[in-house]
């Protein structure tokens, strides 16, 4: 086996890779990137709904991680550490793009973005399952503020208190935006289902 093959052939565990990355080992960095790239990129893609932006943010998240890897002491899981860093990078970027979280009072008044409500009216339900591709498109089409909260809570599994701390809003605001995001998704999914059914 040649040296080139050895480089590719020997697989490290994540813990070994972290220790070797601390010493500046290129292969270790690549292994860590390979283990976590999909999760980080998917998060960035969900939050931005833009592949070029998501790739830039993925790159930035990993660069920040690798610059700080010498400080990783293993108190928390590496994936948790990385993921939190990726979320922070994305949120920072969204803040730079002037997409502040809409205050609760405004979300209650801004009915243009909010789904239309006809309380008590007969309403067809989604019933059954949701096609993943249609759900993905519907999430991508959400207004950025709603999408951010929805992705953090329903996709990534963060609690409202964590989201409030990360995003810099109140817990009530986080809950309100999540509910509006779900309502909007429901409308969007029902519309696309109806359009599909109407096609010959």
């Amino acid at each position: 086996m040649t040296d080139a093959r050895k480089l590719q052939g020997d697989k490290l565990s994540e813990a070994e890779a972290i220790e070797r990355a601390k010493q500046g080992d290129a292969e270790a960095f690549q292994l860590l990137y390979g283990l976590h790239k999909r999760r980080v990129y998917s998060l960035c893609l969900r939050m931005t709904a833009n592949t070029a932006e998501a790739e830039d943010l993925t790159q930035e998240a990993f660069l920040q991680l690798f610059r700080k890897i010498a400080t990783f002491r293993g108190e928390s899981a590496f994936s948790t550490w990385l993921h939190r860093m990726a979320v922070n990078v994305v949120l920072m970027q969204l803040r730079k793009k002037s997409l502040p979280v809409v205050p609760l009072e405004e979300t209650l008044e801004n009915e243009e973005e909010a789904p239309k409500k006809e309380l008590g009216a007969q309403d067809p339900v989604l019933s059954g399952s949701i096609d993943r591709l249609r759900l993905q498109r519907a999430v991508d089409a959400l207004p950025p503020g709603y999408r951010r909260i929805f992705v953090l809570h329903d996709v990534e599994g963060y609690e409202h208190n964590e989201i409030a701390a990360m995003v810099g809003c109140s817990i009530g605001n986080s809950k309100s935006q999540l509910h509006k995001a779900r309502m909007k998704l429901r409308e969007s999914l029902k519309t696309s289902r109806a359009e599909k059914a109407a096609k010959p």
Binding site: A26, F29, Y33, K37, F66, A121, R132, D154, V155
Partner: protein, 216 residues
């Protein structure tokens, strides 16, 4: 409780559980019941979206270049001393992406022609095929010329770094040769092909770093 009252409380309802009054309304109202079922379905299906795709290979390439430039990667073949000390711009800086593209494309062409040529060499047994010999000669000459030009450019801007870059190019060229020999030994080995590509990418990285040294 009516539908309006129930739905106004929905944002809180998901988190903290329902009151007896809410439960009663939910059981008696198909509209609110359907709504809650849909919202719960959306929330549960959203988990499927967690991992969807891989980023393009350019993301890792950019990360690796940045890590090398910052001296965070201390690869034995490329060395930490490639990190620019006091970079300045020069007129050849635009060549960096061009050189990288040319090198990668050249690697693909050379390798894709490799398996056919190696089969030919087996048939002719004792004599190397003229086409292959010519191609290899052209490649060696081209590589040597490119390296000379790069080293001359480095020397004109930072003479102290010339020896380091010469050593790096020698190492990476040896790595390419090694990788190509592995790939030619087994033309169907996809992993070996990938290693050839990686080797050419490393060479492209050396070029980019050499030219980036001149950037302010």
């Amino acid at each position: 409780m009516n539908c309006t009252e129930f739905q106004e409380l929905l944002p809180q309802e998901f988190e903290g559980g329902r009151t007896a009054e809410q439960e009663l309304h939910l059981r008696s109202c198909p509209v609110c019941s359907g709504l809650v079922t849909d919202l719960e379905l959306i929330a549960s299906e959203a988990r499927q979206l967690q991992e969807v795709a891989d980023p393009s290979p350019r993301v890792w390439a950019a990360i690796e270049i940045a890590l090398r430039q910052e001296g965070i990667i201390r690869d034995a073949q490329l060395g930490p001393s490639l990190v620019p000390g006091r970079p300045r711009r020069w007129s050849m800086a635009w060549l960096a992406p061009v050189a990288a593209l040319v090198l990668v494309a050249f690697g693909i062409v050379i390798y894709q022609r490799g398996p056919a040529d190696s089969r030919l060499s087996v048939k002719q047994d004792t004599q190397a095929p003229p086409a292959l010999t010519k191609l290899q000669t052209e490649k060696k000459t081209s590589t040597a010329n490119e390296d000379e030009q790069l080293l001359a450019a480095v020397a004109s801007r930072s003479p102290a770094m010339q020896a380091q870059y010469a050593s790096n190019l020698q190492n990476v060229n040896a790595y390419i040769k090694d990788a190509e020999e592995s790939a030619q030994a087994d033309p169907n080995d996809e992993e070996a092909q990938q290693i050839v590509m990686d080797a050419y990418e490393q060479r492209a990285t050396v070029y980019e770093m050499a030219l980036d040294r001149s950037l302010p």
